[in-house]
């Protein structure tokens, strides 16, 4: 006990001084708790939707539509159908009887491979598969009864001989929570998401690298070379930063069609390069202007040309800004839907993932939640990886782009 008291006394909020002071302390600590709880609530609100998608993508497809993903760790009640085989019927005291176990049916082997399970309810109609609780004897129609026990054994009786293959019966049973990679297999193999993934990569990488080079030279000129019209050019770049992409779509597509590029990968690389340039020039120039003047001046005095200064001094020093822009541009081109819809052909073999999801899966797989969750997760996995490993540069780039602008 003494130990605990000591620990409490050593905490920053704890005080043994005057009552007034401790009232203030109590108030501060209440505020601290309020702060902590609010932060937790915000973080949960921001995290839970993504978490739901992530968990759903690993759930069995039957279980997804039966219970919410937040119940994923618990057993799920699913409905099944079985048959009381007429071949097994025997006559006893004027009654036809079939006995057996619902789990014997080979249809059930996917969920009950060892042919045991727990039945919670049963029925004889597909529209009401859980009409009667397990263990109850159900009167189905004149002279016909059905009973399914919790362990799955059933008894069906009838005053007339069972005809055909035997009566259908439906039951509801608990299934253990099941996590699988089946959704990923379906999405990547059958739904051609692998192709779309490669297409996205194909669009994103050249569209990230090419503008950096063009922009770096321009940014150096705007930051460290004196020439008439420089201020005007910088203002133009700032203005072009906000030009809505929508304006570019029709004229450029027509232009591409006229010069023979048409809707193609080459076209989308060029488009992304053009659209990414203002931000690239702006970010890199802001960064390069901040480099120490002494280094560049002394290199000039030593007789280095602008080209040498740029390649040997400015470019290596600007690495953080280059990395920031590269991340922005990569995320932007990877996540883009609009430019891909317009500048790439709509045929399946050149669809990128965003187009595939928005135009293809949401329509044809609209109700298949497991597939949708998985496709979405495949498409956001790479950006998330980039985000969590390179967050530092992303933050730095955001700050260079915005705080200085204020």
């Amino acid at each position: 006990m003494a130990n605990t008291a000591e620990k409490v006394a050593m905490q920053p909020g704890f005080t043994l001084q005057t009552p007034a002071r401790s009232r203030v302390a109590a108030k501060t600590s209440a505020l601290n708790w309020a702060v902590r709880i609010s932060v937790i609530l915000i973080v949960l609100l921001w995290l839970i939707p993504t978490l739901g998608l992530f968990i759903s993508s690993f759930r069995d497809r039957d279980q997804i539509s039966a219970t919410g993903w937040w119940k994923a760790p618990f057993a799920v009640e699913l409905t099944f159908r079985a048959r009381a085989p007429a071949a097994d019927q025997r006559l006893e005291d004027g009654q036809w009887i079939i006995e057996g176990s619902v789990f014997d049916d080979p249809e059930q082997s996917r969920w009950f491979p060892d042919q045991t399970g727990e039945v919670t309810a049963f029925g004889n109609r597909g529209v009401a598969p859980a009409e009667f609780p397990a263990g109850q004897t159900a009167e189905i129609r004149d002279g016909e009864t059905l009973r399914v026990e919790r362990d799955g054994t059933f008894v069906a009786t009838s005053s007339e001989e069972f005809s055909g293959a035997g009566p259908r019966l439906y039951f509801e049973a608990l299934t253990p929570p099941r996590f699988t990679l089946a959704n990923y297999e379906t999405v990547l193999r059958a739904d051609n998401m692998d192709r779309a993934f490669i297409n996205t990569l194909t669009v994103a990488i050249p569209a990230t690298i090419i503008p950096i080079l063009i922009a770096a030279f321009a940014a150096y000129a705007l930051a460290w070379m004196e020439f008439p019209g420089r201020a005007l050019l910088i203002a133009a770049v700032v203005g072009l930063l906000v030009v809505p992409l929508q304006l570019a779509l029709v004229p450029l597509l027509n232009l591409h069609n006229r010069v023979g590029i048409g809707q193609s990968f080459l076209g989308i690389w060029l488009a992304h390069t053009g659209f990414g340039l203002p931000l690239a020039i702006y970010l890199l120039r802001n960064y390069m202007v901040g480099l120490p003047r002494d280094i560049i001046e002394s290199a000039r005095v030593d007789g280095a040309t602008d080209f040498q200064i740029f390649v040997k001094i400015v470019l290596p020093l600007s690495f953080p800004a280059l990395a920031s822009f590269a991340i922005f541009q990569f995320l932007w081109t990877w996540n883009d839907l609009l430019v891909a819809k317009v500048f790439l052909p709509s045929a399946a073999e050149s669809q990128v993932m965003t187009v595939k999801i928005a135009d293809d899966l949401l329509g044809s797989r609209g109700g298949d939640w497991g597939i949708l969750a998985t496709a979405a997760f495949v498409s956001i996995a790479v950006p998330l990886l980039v985000f969590f490993t390179l967050q530092r540069y992303l933050v730095r780039g955001l700050l260079a782009g915005s705080v200085k602008g204020g």
Partner: protein, 326 residues
């Protein structure tokens, strides 16, 4: 595999092409056109130095001109022609648009987006920046709130589809309603008027991280003395936040606000993937896509209306940047 290979070739060709252009053009200027020797060596060096910035700038200016400046003019010009592009109809496309109910609805919805999304994202961003600042695990919290920035608008729409779904066992909102005894699920994306706000929240969810990162840096840049002085004068935490801190970062708040405003005017993906513009949720960027590939005249007219909405922010940005450079 072919496009991937083509991509690699493009990278190599592009990189070598760029570097080659800069190197070769530089060399030609220094050695062929204005050689730094002979009788005019001094004059030639000066001339070469006057030309060099334009060598460095040429590819960028060319690309910007072709891919951003030309389209502004080209789009406007195209919007004055009819669907086939054969007949000059003055502002016929604009008149026709303003007579369309869906267009007017898009404009109204877009104005709502412009009001709500920047306000919401800045508000949540400011709160989370301030609250996480003093916590030991604040950086983890920030990282998680920032995460949606990396997710595509389409991905985010799908993520939120799992929250909004019209189903007790998929949609979180309906699951919560069921907990409170609701008899049947509702499709929140079909509730007239309010469905817009559910869509807007997706963008707020994405942009809050951006606002938070920038505002958090601004809050840290506030001089310690001003806060200490307020503490000594007996100000409570709320007064310190609203009276001391907010006024000092007002400039940054405005920047965040305008940046998100511009983004709002460009994003068509969320509406496109969630409702397809149905149920009264159409906005201008997604409305434009209904005309894309069908009627270039109308499509460019819608695009130009978006441009007009962006224009005030653009002018403000340029003035701000010029003031800063002075």
């Amino acid at each position: 595999m072919t496009p991937l290979l083509q991509g690699m070739v493009t990278i190599v060709v592009g990189v070598i092409g760029c570097v080659g252009y800069f190197y070769v053009s530089n060399w030609i200027v220094d050695h062929v056109i204005f050689p730094a020797r002979g009788p005019n060596a001094g004059r030639n060096i000066n001339r070469a130095n006057r030309l060099r910035p334009w060598l460095f700038l040429f590819p960028a200016i060319f690309a910007l001109g072709l891919y951003l400046v030309y389209p502004v003019i080209g789009s406007f010009w195209r919007s004055l022609f009819n669907r086939a592009g054969t007949e000059f109809i003055w502002f016929g496309n604009y008149v026709a648009l303003f007579n369309e109910g869906e267009f007017r609805q898009s404009v109204l919805n877009n104005l709502m987006w412009i009001l709500v999304v920047p306000a919401g994202a800045t508000f949540f961003g400011l709160i989370s920046a301030q609250l996480t600042d003093k916590l030991s695990w604040g950086n983890v919290a920030k990282s998680l709130i920032f995460m949606p920035m990396a997710i595509s608008f389409v991905g985010a729409s799908l993520i939120w589809k799992f929250v909004y779904a019209n189903n007790f066992d998929i949609g979180l909102i309906n699951a919560i309603r069921e907990m409170f005894g609701a008899a049947r699920p509702v499709d929140v994306l079909q509730i007239p008027f309010w469905n817009n706000f559910f869509l807007m929240f997706i963008l707020i969810w994405i942009q809050t991280g951006f606002a938070m990162v920038i505002l958090s840096a601004a809050l840290r840049g506030i001089p310690e003395e001003t806060v200490e002085a307020a503490v000594i004068d007996g100000a409570n935490p709320f007064q310190i936040f609203f009276r001391i801190k907010i006024p000092q970062i007002m400039g940054t708040i405005v920047v965040v606000w305008t940046t998100i405003t511009i983004l709002v005017l460009k994003v068509f993906d969320i509406v496109y993937a969630s409702t397809g513009g149905n149920f009264g949720t159409q906005i201008l960027p997604s409305y434009m896509m209904t005309y894309m590939f069908r009627d270039d005249g109308r499509a460019t007219a819608v695009a130009f209306v978006i441009m007009l909405l962006v224009l005030p922010v653009m002018i403000w940005n340029i003035r701000q940047a010029r003031r800063e450079m002075r």
